[in-house]
Every structure is written in structure tokens, then in C-alpha cells.
Amino acid sequence: MGEELILTVADRYERDEGMLIPMMQDIQKEMGYLPPEDLRRLSGVLEIPLVRIYGVATFYSSFRLAPKGQHDITLCMGTVCFLKGSGKISEAICNEFNVEPGATTEDRLFTMSAVNCVGACALAPVMIVDGQYHDHVTMDSAIKIIRGLKEEG
């Protein structure tokens, strides 16, 4: 699987090293994260040093080197969301579920990310759960939404 995926992705962009970021985005889309062995394979196929790929993987905030939880929770920390209390919401989620922004809960229920503005400021504060936008969230409603995921299993 791994070997094939890397070749398919690399060939999709004609092995053009300028398309390294889209290639890595495709791998992440397929695998949920960037497995180290796949990056090593990609480095071999494109004949570019692994250190450069690793640099790119750690520079951009959307790349992740560890597997994700079952669900994706994205909390917007843009200026407007911040003014309307997203800082406190983030704190409340982290305390309640014993997690940190960028990390995954121990039971692998969800991965929590705090991002810089999703551009939906009229809805602030905004929390996105598996691609679904929740508007005007509060500490309580955010925690309730996440608890709901747990019950769904």
C-alpha cells in the first residue's frame, strides 16, 4: 500500500519537486497523517533530501506527523472569535477532555486544533466538528457537542 501510494502520488504531479506540498497533502488525505516511512519513500522517489521534506512537514501547520483521533475538532482563534471568548472555550475544552491544542485525546476520540481564523467571523465564536460549522458556541455548548461525539461512539 505505502509504496504504491507514494508512486501514484508522485506520478500524479509528474514527480515535479515544486509540487511537493500538494503531494504531501494528498498523502495526508489518504493516510490521515504523514507516516515517517512514507516521507522516506517520497524522499527516495523524488530524490530530494528527507530533511527538506521534514522541514516542510513541520513548517506548515496543516501537516501532522502523528495519527489523528476519530473526530476532528477545530476551534477558531481568529481576532473576532478571540474577542468573543474563544480563548476561554479552548481552555474549557482542554480541561474537560485533558487535551492540548494540536494533540489527540488519550482515548483517540478527537484531535483538537486551534487555528487562526476560518473566515466565518459573523458566526464567532466558531467550532468546526468533522467539517461541520457550529456558530456562536459557548464553553457549555462546545463541551456538550464534544460529549455528543462520545455517545455516538
Binding site: 511537493l20 500538494p22 473576532v80 478571540f82 487555528v115 473566515g119 458566526l123 456558530d135
Partner: protein, 621 residues
């Protein structure tokens, strides 16, 4: 796509003929326009669209009705928005149970559902159409004109509204130099923040030595609190493409790139669809409009890095590298992407081009101020009644924007400041509310135009905390290449953290100012050079607030934890015990129906009681 047979457009005449054929096909059709922009979609508008589609299928009574998904109308606060043609009746805050009534009353019966139209909060007057609503009345829409009118997934809609006529005119009847001259006359300046004259950039790129050239559209809208470009890319993607086609022809480029922020999935989807359709119709590819000009566009998704909004960092990212800026001894118009002369403009800049070509540069230059021509789109957000996208002629005052269009500060609170320009900008206080908004005036006030975020702050906002927020943002986003930015921002943040925690010292303000100047003078790129603006502007206009934090260990806005306490107002407390039950440290005591008391020694200032109290009896003092 309604037609199975795709007609390739090979000349201006065939474009016109094609438009006529769509006109004939759509005449007399009633249209239900449902906004599916990110804002309305979040509130369930996609489901509304489905319900309208079902209603149309079921009724089948000979009336031709087309439910249409459209882009953002701007007044996102009141979404989901549904517009009915004919009559352009606009309904807001539509919910699923309303669909049947709208369909029966308005679509079939031609009557208004009064409870869903805009009601003026003061006069109670009802506004049936967009033009009657104060939020829209004071605006002048060029870039956003067709947003909300057309289906961004259907090129025919764009063509029906006169789309691609500017490209047809430019490619078939204008010389590249004539186009650049027209843009020069228009006075258009870059909408991404810098405000560099667009025509001069195009000219330099055109004249740079070399065979190949590239054009780039910067859709990496990174300023928190700004979503103009997202709405343009989502709501009217073909306008961006048309602008790029005209620009590429004028500059002599055959390849274009659109760099879109990773956080904007819908924009990527709509742009990708638009590019594919434009290719099918022959509007992108070889020999566009039967000329010998060929042009193609590719989309790249960003990786999630604010610094990539900087042109050289963006180009590094397009080359598959980490997005670190380089010094611009050599301009990107001479050596940009892959060392090739490259012209980069922002989404809004490109979207202005078709109107300029259609109506002439002089028309555009007749709008705006001496140094800033045309209109500018702002995202008016924060503590303001009507949040959303506003497009105004340059030179309108901040007061007009915030009060006449925005409806003033939310919940009757006191205005404190308006933040413009994102993390590179600054906070403008009340006394400058009558300043006209253009590139030069905002810079004079210690802020900047930026890409167009306009964030209103009220009396409950602590300005030291705002400065801390932006520095924290910039610390995370500094690429780390040059020392002043990497270390300087961290040091400034460290001082602000101390001040907001009540550990401020005499001399802190002076150190902040010293570091700010160092950053401005010695950083490599604009991110570092302007990183201190949020601190400098708040120090300039709200210095007293810093001093109160440092000397009295108090936060006047009562936002900084530890610099104020919570108390229960015995008069207002009904003794409902809600706060007592929710207090995580059991700091609240009291009997049912008796006023409660907070034990300040146990209280951890978490604010739960303040959030929970239904009577507003918990006070910050």
C-alpha cells in the same frame, strides 16, 4: 450544467451569441436563490436548498422555478439568506419550516412573508429588497456586485451577467500596453495590503527580461477577522479568473497560479470547478477567443502559514519549500517564482480588472479619494450590530461604516476602538472616527488598510490583551528566519504576559517601545517590520490602560484574569443557587432565595458564576 453539449467560445461574437441563447433559455423563470457561502451553510442553508428543490419537484404546476445555490450576500450575521426572483425579495434567518410558506406565498402567490424580511431595529420599517436595507444602501458594490446573484458553480450564470466580455474585449481589440494604460488611469492599487499601484507592477513585469512570465493570485487571506477574499473566491470565482486572463495577456504570461488558504475548502472547490468549466468553454487553454494567446491556471492549496501571504514566501511555498521570505533586492517582477518574472496580485485586485476594462479606467478613478481610487471591501466584524462584508467607495469615514452600515456597537455598549490591517495594523480610537478610509489616512493613524479586516471593539475589550493576542499570533507565525522578528516578538509578548498577569514593572512600556523600533528597522519582511504595530498603536492611544495595569494592578476593561474580582450584587441575586452548584471550587455560599456570597480567598476567578447567572447579579469589580 444545464446543457449537455458544450459550445466552445472562439470569438467575442460567439460569446455574445452564447449569452443570447442563455437569455432565451432563462427568460420568465422564477428563481429561488439560496446562499451557500460558509456563513449561511453553517446555519443549515444546504438543507434549505434541498427542501426548495423538493418543493419545486412536487408542485409541478407549469410554473418554471429554479432553485439556485449562490455565493455570499455579505450580511452573514442574519443568514441563512434566501432571495426570490422576480422582485428580489430577500428573506433572512430562514429555517427549514419556513420553506413551505415561502414557496406557497412568495414563489407561487407573489406575496411577502413579512416575518422573514428585514425589520429596522429602530423604526420597525420592513425592507423587502436588498437595496432598501440600510446595510446595503450605503455601499457601492463593484467587486461584490454579482455575489449572491449567481451560482458560482455555473459559468453560464456568469456569462449571462456579462462575464468574460472584458476578456473578449481586451484580447481581441486591445494591445497589452493599452490595457496597462487603462489600469494606470484607473489608479487601482493592490488590495492585499501594500497598496502598490497595479499598473506599475504589471508594466515592470512585462518589461522584465526573459521569455517566460507567471501571474499569481494571492488567495492566502491570513489576517484573522478578514474574509473578503474567501467570499469572492466562493461567490464569484470566474471574476477572479477573468481578471487573471486579462492581466496575463497584458503582462505576457501563459501560466497562472492561484494560492488558496488551506482553511477555505469551499473556495478551492468553487475555483477548481470554475477553472474546469472555463477550460471546457475554451476560455482557458490554447488560442483564447481565437487569438494566439494561450493561458492556463493551476490551484495550489496553502499549508497553513500566515507568512505565505508575503509574496516571496508564497513563491517559495509554490516551489515546494518552507515559506520563508527573502530580501527583495531583486523584485519578484524580475525574478519571482522559479526565477521567472512573476506578477502577484491579491484576489480583490484581480476581481476589479474586468469592471475597469468594461467601464474604462476613468470611470473607476471617478470613485474614491485623491490617492485611493475605487472601492474597498471590508469585513466588518466584532462587537458591531450588522457584521458582514461591506464594499464602500474609498474615502468614506469610519463612523459612516460602523454606524450607518454596521448599525453601531452591539448591545448598546460604548465604542472603544476599531482594529484594521490585521496583525500588521493597529487600533484606532473614537476621536478618529471621522477619518476617511483610504490607504494613506489609515497609515497616518498608525494602522493600515491591510487586506480589509475591520474589527470593532467595545468597552469590555482590554487593549493590552488585544496587543498580546496579536503578538501571540505573530510569535506562532514568525517563520524564524531573521532574529529580530523571531526573538523580538517573543520578548515583547513575554512583557505583555507579565503586564496582563499583574506583574508589570516600571520601564516595561519603554522597553516595549524600544523593541518595537528595533523590529521595524531590522526585520527582513513586512511581517516583522509591522509586528509591533498593534503594540505601538495601543500604546499611542491607550497608554493609560497599560499604566493602570502596571501601577494599580487593575484591568479597566475587566478582562485580564487576576486584575479584577467577581462579586454578587445582593440586590439582584435571587438565590437560585445556580452559581453555587456550578462553582468548581465551592467558593460560593448561601441559602435558597437568599443572596449568595463569593469567598474571595477560595475563588479562582474562572468566571463560571458570571456566565451562569441568569439575572446578571455577578459583577466584575
Amino acid at each position: 450544467m444545464s446543457s449537455s453539449h458544450i459550445q466552445t467560445i472562439t470569438s467575442p461574437e460567439s460569446l455574445q451569441k452564447f449569452r443570447k441563447s442563455i437569455e432565451g433559455k432563462t427568460a420568465g423563470i422564477k428563481v429561488i436563490r439560496v446562499c451557500i457561502g460558509t456563513g449561511c451553510a453553517a446555519k443549515g442553508s444546504r438543507k434549505l436548498l434541498e427542501l426548495f428543490q423538493e418543493a419545486v419537484k412536487e408542485s409541478g404546476n407549469g410554473i418554471r422555478v429554479e432553485p439556485k445555490s449562490v455565493g455570499c450576500h455579505g450580511l452573514c450575521e442574519r443568514g441563512p439568506i434566501v432571495v426570490i426572483e422576480p422582485g428580489d425579495i430577500i428573506y433572512m434567518g430562514v429555517e427549514e419550516p419556513d420553506v413551505e410558506e415561502i414557496y406557497r406565498e412568495t414563489v407561487l402567490g407573489g406575496r411577502i412573508v413579512e416575518r422573514l424580511v428585514y425589520k429596522d431595529p429602530e423604526t420597525g420599517a420592513l425592507s423587502k429588497t436588498e437595496g432598501e436595507i440600510p446595510f446595503y444602501k450605503a455601499q457601492k458594490r463593484i467587486v461584490l456586485k454579482e455575489n449572491g446573484n449567481l451560482n458560482p458553480k455555473n459559468i453560464e450564470d456568469y456569462i449571462l451577467k456579462g462575464g468574460y466580455t472584458a476578456a473578449a474585449k481586451a484580447l481581441s481589440s486591445m494591445e497589452p500596453e493599452e490595457i496597462i494604460e487603462e489600469v494606470r488611469i484607473s489608479g487601482l492599487r493592490g488590495r492585499g495590503g501594500g497598496g502598490f499601484p497595479t499598473a506599475r507592477k504589471w508594466q515592470s513585469c512585462r518589461e522584465a527580461p526573459g521569455e517566460e512570465r507567471y501571474v499569481i493570485c494571492n488567495g492566502d487571506e491570513g489576517d484573522p477577522g478578514a474574509f473578503m477574499d474567501r467570499s469572492i473566491m466562493e461567490g464569484n470565482p470566474h471574476a477572479v479568473l477573468e481578471g487573471m486572463i486579462i492581466g496575463a495577456y497584458a503582462i505576457g504570461a501563459n501560466q497562472g497560479y492561484i494560492y488558496v488558504r488551506n482553511e477555505y475548502p469551499l473556495a478551492v472547490e468553487h475555483l477548481t470547478g470554475a477553472i474546469n468549466q472555463a477550460k471546457e468553454y475554451g476560455l482557458l487553454g490554447d488560442n483564447i477567443f481565437g487569438t494566439d494567446f494561450s493561458f492556463d491556471i493551476r490551484i495550489n492549496r496553502g499549508g497553513g502559514a500566515f507568512v505565505c501571504g508575503e509574496s516571496t514566501a508564497l513563491m517559495a511555498s509554490l516551489e515546494g519549500r518552507t515559506g520563508e521570505p527573502r530580501a527583495k533586492y531583486v523584485h519578484t517582477v524580475e525574478s519571482g517564482l522559479k526565477g521567472v518574472p512573476t506578477n502577484l496580485n491579491n484576489v480583490e485586485t484581480w476581481s476589479n480588472i474586468p469592471s475597469i476594462i468594461n467601464n474604462g479606467g476613468a470611470w473607476f478613478a471617478s470613485i474614491g479619494t485623491e490617492g485611493s481610487k475605487g472601492t474597498k471591501v471590508f469585513s466588518l466584524v466584532g462587537k458591531v450590530e450588522n457584521t458582514g462584508l461591506v464594499e464602500i467607495p474609498m474615502g468614506m469615514t469610519l463612523r459612516e461604516i460602523i454606524y450607518d452600515i454596521g448599525g453601531g456597537v452591539k448591545d448598546g455598549k460604548e465604542f472603544k476602538a476599531v482594529q484594521t490591517g490585521g496583525p500588521s495594523g493597529g487600533c484606532i480610537p473614537q476621536k478618529y472616527l471621522d477619518a476617511p478610509v483610504d490607504f494613506d489616512e489609515l497609515t497616518k493613524l498608525g494602522s493600515m488598510m491591510g487586506s480589509g479586516g475591520m474589527i470593532v471593539m467595545d468597552e469590555d475589550t482590554c487593549m493590552v490583551n488585544v496587543a498580546k493576542y496579536f503578538l501571540n499570533f505573530l510569535k506562532e507565525e514568525s517563520c524564524g528566519k531573521c532574529t529580530p522578528c523571531r526573538e523580538g516578538v517573543s520578548q515583547m509578548l513575554h512583557i505583555l504576559e507579565r503586564i496582563t498577569a499583574g506583574d508589570g514593572r516600571e520601564g516595561d512600556i519603554e522597553t516595549l517601545e524600544e523593541l518595537a523600533l528595533l523590529l521595524r528597522d531590522t526585520s527582513l519582511c513586512a511581517l516583522g517590520q509591522t509586528a509591533a504595530n498593534p503594540v505601538l498603536s495601543t500604546l499611542k492611544y491607550f497608554r493609560k490602560e497599560y499604566e493602570t495595569h502596571i501601577r494599580e494592578r487593575k484591568c479597566p476593561a475587566k478582562e485580564c484574569k487576576g486584575l479584577f474580582t467577581y462579586e454578587i450584587d445582593p440586590e439582584a441575586c435571587k438565590g437560585c443557587m445556580l452559581c453555587l452548584k456550578n462553582c468548581p471550587v465551592d467558593a460560593i455560599t448561601g441559602e435558597r432565595k437568599q443572596p449568595h456570597v463569593i469567598n474571595q480567598e477560595i475563588c479562582t476567578l474562572c468566571g463560571t458564576c458570571f456566565e451562569k447567572c441568569p439575572f446578571g447579579a455577578v459583577l466584575k469589580v
